[in-house]
């Protein structure tokens, strides 16, 4: 076991390479969204536990630190969604040339920022409160 190759040693890579950056961001945002899934199920269980329990849960869910987490979740959702679609297009065998991949990386960056901005604006203005 000890003699087998280990992967990947983050320290030896140049982090600013777009290939590495888009890939590791997709993985990192996926992990954040996994944490978001726990939050979603906590919310659903709180609703199912009745009005009194839900009132208590809402006090927890409206903590400032969690509001910051919701914005982070919107950002990670936007990135993981757009980057995931890029992966699905790759899986059809398209867009794999270096120039195309470079262009789609930039496109993923722009599209995810725009999507996040739109979602965040909506979230902050929905129901008249943050």
């Amino acid at each position: 076991m000890t003699e087998r190759p280990l992967s990947p040693h983050l320290g030896v890579y140049r982090m600013y390479r777009y290939t590495l950056l888009t890939s590791i961001l997709n993985r990192a945002t996926g992990l954040v969204l996994s944490a978001g899934l726990i939050l979603l199920v906590y919310w659903l269980v709180a609703i199912a536990s009745g009005p009194a329990a839900y009132r208590g849960a809402r006090q927890v869910l409206s903590l400032d630190v969690l509001k910051a987490l919701y914005l982070l979740l919107l950002a990670t959702f936007a990135y993981h969604l757009v980057a995931g679609i890029r992966h699905l297009i790759w899986d059809t065998g398209h867009g794999l040339e270096r120039a195309q991949s470079k262009r789609s990386a930039v496109l993923v960056g722009i599209a995810s920022v725009l999507l996040f901005a739109g979602l965040a604006w909506w979230a902050l203005h929905a129901r008249g409160h943050a």
Partner: protein, 128 residues
């Protein structure tokens, strides 16, 4: 050039056909999560309020409950597949790796079961 392993060549056998299961399940769940994720974000942001009566009425609608259950199941499956790769990459030592993978799988099953049961309970009117 043959890509077969020496053992497979000797035995005259090809792959056991299960090698792409993880890859394929990840693709299927990601395709399903595109509409489910967008639907969830739009629906929650469109809710007029987040008090108990409003969210209960929302989940009480048949298709809301159906999509919520599909979202929880698909997201839990996709998350398990993804976290599994991260563990396989970064947790070293076969004992620690196997234990972590087992815990990750158990945890995702619990999350999925709790989410589905919660939606069913609300949808069937048990949360008022």
């Amino acid at each position: 050039m043959s890509l077969r392993s020496p053992l497979a060549r000797v035995l005259g056998q090809g792959s056991a056909k299960e090698g792409v299961h993880h890859w394929w399940a990840q693709r299927l769940t990601s395709v399903a999560l595109v509409p489910l994720g967008v639907w969830f974000a739009v629906s929650v942001l469109s809710l007029p309020a987040l008090d108990h009566a409003t969210v209960t009425a929302w989940i009480g609608q048949l298709w809301t409950a159906v999509f919520l259950i599909l979202l929880v199941l698909t997201a839990a499956w996709h998350s398990q597949l993804g976290v599994r790769i991260v563990v396989e990459d970064y947790v070293h030592g076969s004992g620690a790796k196997t234990l972590t993978l087992a815990l990750v799988t158990f945890f995702h099953v619990v999350v999925a079961a709790a989410g589905v049961l919660a939606v069913l309970k609300v949808a069937l009117g048990g949360a008022s």
